[in-house]
Symmetry: C3
């Protein structure tokens, strides 16, 4: 358990990315107000299709026909919570995989209670930073706000425990990402610090994780591939950028053009 997880092989990531582009999954995003456009553009760039449908009745209707559902609680409201629960229930009935991004869980009471209440509703995956994983696992979190103050390596045992307890996958991301189903685990060590100077890169990654969850085959590999695709695109974009503005633009360009060989 304490062995450092192996790096996801580039070939596996390339295979998952090719599969994603072949399937072009439609991702129903119930996400926060800040990152909607960037999330949609990230999904389009990587080869998936986004749709934001938020009225409770429509959210339930739509998540039943989408290929995956994203639940991101960054700007959770009572009303949006109702839509999310309706969408999760419909997704579960239809067999649509759904992904939880528990933004800033632990720091704020309302969203913490909400996040804990949906954990037993069988998410296909959870994508979070170390602080958020600690909070979900009932550990004292160090950070405030959305930047992770803890290290993803420190959070890995708690990620494993969460994955096991809820029968889900957990991707804990940071300078190094770890992706685990409780037993198996992959690491992805490719991110760039510039990712933290653009709002919504983590949220967009969660949407990409949702897209990859829609693919047939080894879901743990697919989720790790999603992390690898974003991290590698960031790594390749950073040296070409003059700052966070051109980085965000270049990241979308890079995701669009990313080839299997770029991942190896």
């Amino acid at each position: 358990m304490n062995v450092e997880p192996a790096e996801l092989p580039g070939l596996a990531a390339a295979t998952s990315l090719a599969l994603l582009r072949q399937h072009a999954p439609l991702v129903h995003c119930l996400t926060n107000d800040v990152v909607q456009a960037f999330t949609a553009n990230t999904l389009l760039a990587v080869g998936a299709a986004p749709a934001m449908v938020i009225e409770p009745r429509e959210a339930a209707q739509f998540s039943a026909v989408a290929d995956a559902l994203l639940i991101n609680i960054g700007t959770l409201t009572e009303r949006r919570g109702v839509s999310m629960l309706a969408a999760i229930e419909a997704a579960n009935q239809a067999g649509t995989p759904w992904v939880l991004d528990p933004v800033a869980v632990g720091a704020l009471t309302f969203r913490t209670e909400f996040a804990l209440s949906v954990l037993p509703l069988k998410p296909a995956a959870i994508r979070a930073n170390a602080s958020e994983i600690l909070a979900l696992a009932g550990q004292p979190a160090l950070g405030r706000g959305v930047d992770s103050a803890d290290d993803s390596r420190h959070a890995l045992p708690f990620a494993r425990r969460l994955a096991e307890e809820y029968g889900t996958l957990v991707a804990v991301t940071g300078r190094v990402d770890f992706i685990t189903d409780g037993e198996r685990a992959w690491s992805v060590a490719d991110g760039d610090i510039m990712m933290t100077r653009v709002t919504g890169t983590g949220c967009a990654l969660s949407a990409v994780v949702a897209a990859f969850c829609a693919l047939p085959g080894d879901r743990l590999q697919h989720v790790a591939a999603a992390c690898r695709v974003m991290a590698r695109a960031g790594r390749l974009t950073a040296p070409e950028s003059a700052g966070p503005g051109s980085f965000a633009v270049g990241l979308l360009d890079r995701l669009y053009r990313l080839q299997g060989e770029d991942l190896q």
Copy 2:
């Protein structure tokens, strides 16, 4: 009726664009959550002015003083529907033209009922893709989500019928755009596939259509000119772009710099 509509002359488009920049119409946008910033920036780039005012009382007050009103149902909620109805009523009383963008109509019950309920409220124009036009016309739609699976040419007869029945203009956009008042029709054949890899290009076009509806003169020509302006800007931007990120940025730059001669 079955003759292919003629291409809008470049000179006509250039005349409409010059008029738009002279009038700089203020467009009240009740649009979806995903595309607000891109819509506002598109209006500013082309030479119009955006304002998003959403509280029901304010929406009614504002649409009476704006030059045009956009109603886009992409993230319709019950509450936003109330604002939209109030804004439409005030616009109609003040003689402010309003434009309907019936995003994903047909695919979801709540918005479909809403869109059908506002059709008789005298929109100046409807801007939609082929699937959405088919849905408004009571035909079985093929697509799911917001990408048009049908061809705009196939939808043209239904666009004509809608325009006639509701005394409105219909712009059905896709690889080729058709703009009709039921009797007359123009085509615009200038778009670029990259448009579909950036979220909100269709929604932003609807806002631009609303801006052009505020101009004096031949509204059918103006609406066709709006389509031509966006399509041509896209066509000119695509070869200079490294992907959808730089395409979206370049599109705004291009709209800002677009000259009459670029349209011919």
Copy 3:
């Protein structure tokens, strides 16, 4: 009183900027729907940290731990007004400075009443254009929408009066910015017209003002420095831009790279 205020010295602006980057204040933004991503990215670029938390209970909880709070009424709704009042009250109890951006006040009844109702709640600063300052001061406003039709110089005496009456700072921005506490005043004459062709530059400036209000020391200088930082970044970016798309991207890059010597 009628003497033209002196230009903020570059060295003072540079000192404030260095302090900002050292403190990296966390800014709780209750802002409008259109500008959320641009506001967050601007704060990240300049060296602060954004967080948008909107559910009333969470807004109160969060503004007590944030370093500053921004209240922007651009897309005010009744529900959002409740969150704002809860956040202001908690901020005041915790000693967190809060900043008011009274977007389009005067033009619309609901938001005007709201803005006037929060003025006595001790904002640390108000950032507005000339029309909005006139409206807050009970003067007839000329503009409609968010672009300032009046000149900031004309609004300066009313800005002074507001600052005195409410014990706050007022930054009235336009081609020239004036920043006053009622008695003292600075001017910043560095902006670029391109700023008006990108949505949310004024709103983002208000968020930056909020970040600078969190710093220890001379708050009037800090707020003037915030104006100077944005204006200078705009001035340096404009000649390198091909239009408003690349300008917005370049502005973020420039804010990120801005050095003290650039301000002098």
